[in-house]
Amino acid sequence: MANDKSSMQLISRGILSENPIFKLALSMCPAVGISTTVMNGFMLGVAVLFVQVFSSITISLFKNLIHPRIRIPTYTLTIATWVTVIDLVLAAYMPEAYAKMGIFVKLIVAFAIITMRLEMFACKESVKDSFWDGLGMGLGFMVGMMAIGFVRELLGSGAILGYDVLGFKPLLFFILPSAGFFVVGLMMAFFNWIEIYYKRSRGLK
């Protein structure tokens, strides 16, 4: 990782070129599981953003004190701590949203994306850069979740953010479990297609 990244670059990298869902293909369980509405995607996105940013900062702050041998356990402990915090906070202040996300908030602890960012970025870079990187990754995750949620909510229940926009429910299929796979698969392919098209038009390949 280069040191001279600006904050904007770090954020845009998380959202676009290294989007955790569509590009890195990490932490896809919730992307398929609970992305039935935009709101669900947003809420889980917020939770992940919180955990990612705080874990990145924590690890970056203490990076010199972490013994290399116990690197992974320390990461896990840090993540678990912040997940517990956001879990308790959500359960207390947003019980309805929390009930919808079910077990997935607790499962943030097992998201590969967070551990990966800690290992690859936060344990080497400064606090400030780690913050921006965490923010970028978290936002990327949130945007991805919301995009999937948008498609599924619109097609599945004819609504966006709970507001009925179509007036009818086009295809119930899209809010069913299995549709998550199709929507994510098709969206990934769509982004790949854009990339291929872009490269071709630039004469790169």
């Binding site: 013994h67 701590t81 308790l88 906070v89 207390a92 019980p95 309805e96």
Partner: protein, 298 residues
Amino acid sequence: MKDMITIVVRLTVSCVLAATVMGLCFIFTSNAKKHNEHIKEQQVMYELLGYKDGAEIPGSLALHEVYRYVISSSEKQSIGYVVPQGHGEETGFIFVNIDLNGVLIETKPIALSESEVLEAETRNKAVLAAVGPGYEVSFADQTIVVTDNGKRIAYLLGGKFQGFKTFVSVMLAVDPAFTLIGMEILEHEEDPGLGAEIEQDYFKNQFKGKPFEALKTINVVKAPIPADYLKALNGKVSEGDILKFREQYKDHDIYALTGATISSRAVSNGVKGIVTKFSYRVNVLDKVLKEQQLAVSF
């Protein structure tokens, strides 16, 4: 060796730090959580009683919680109720132990405050102390008696029953004659588009206004809902017409959801069970309270 020590020390320190963060967070959020849950529950209750969002709740309205316990020893079982005592000033609760045939065994005061009784653990301990050693107590359910100026206007009953997939949990409101005045589906995991329709107005509202006599034998029919009735169930006609339809269909069976007869039947049987069991119990409890001339708040 030195490595080992640093590792151990640092791990311990980080564990302690983590525990502090989590512990603090837990302390700060646990009360808020309970508070919010309570508010949410109250909101559902008031909605069932007909006070939708923002409607002003009259001050004369009061909710009294009654807790039911099953008390068992190796030989026999009995039912214990924790009922709020007295009128207004006197706080505290009475524990009423009734045997299976509806005959009073004993009554005992329980010194718990309004907020303490909400805590399941404190309450369980108090009940255990009241029944004495050799008995086991298990919390069964909670009923809310609603009074307006001291006069009973409704009961709120919670319940859970087997649906098509997993459990369906509901809250019902019945008036003192056990006519159903409202139903809310709190939790379910039925199939979207099929069984999940039980939470739709046109299904739930069919139960509204069913008298106890009709509820006792309620069943489902597999037929399409008549178009004008459907409109009324969805609240698309005037208030007066809704009542007219409710009157017209009050003894009619529940129209099953298309493609989800099992879920529909589960709900109607579940509601029937909850209301009939409750009607039996509340009669027993009332009789005992009257015989013993116990002052209760409702």
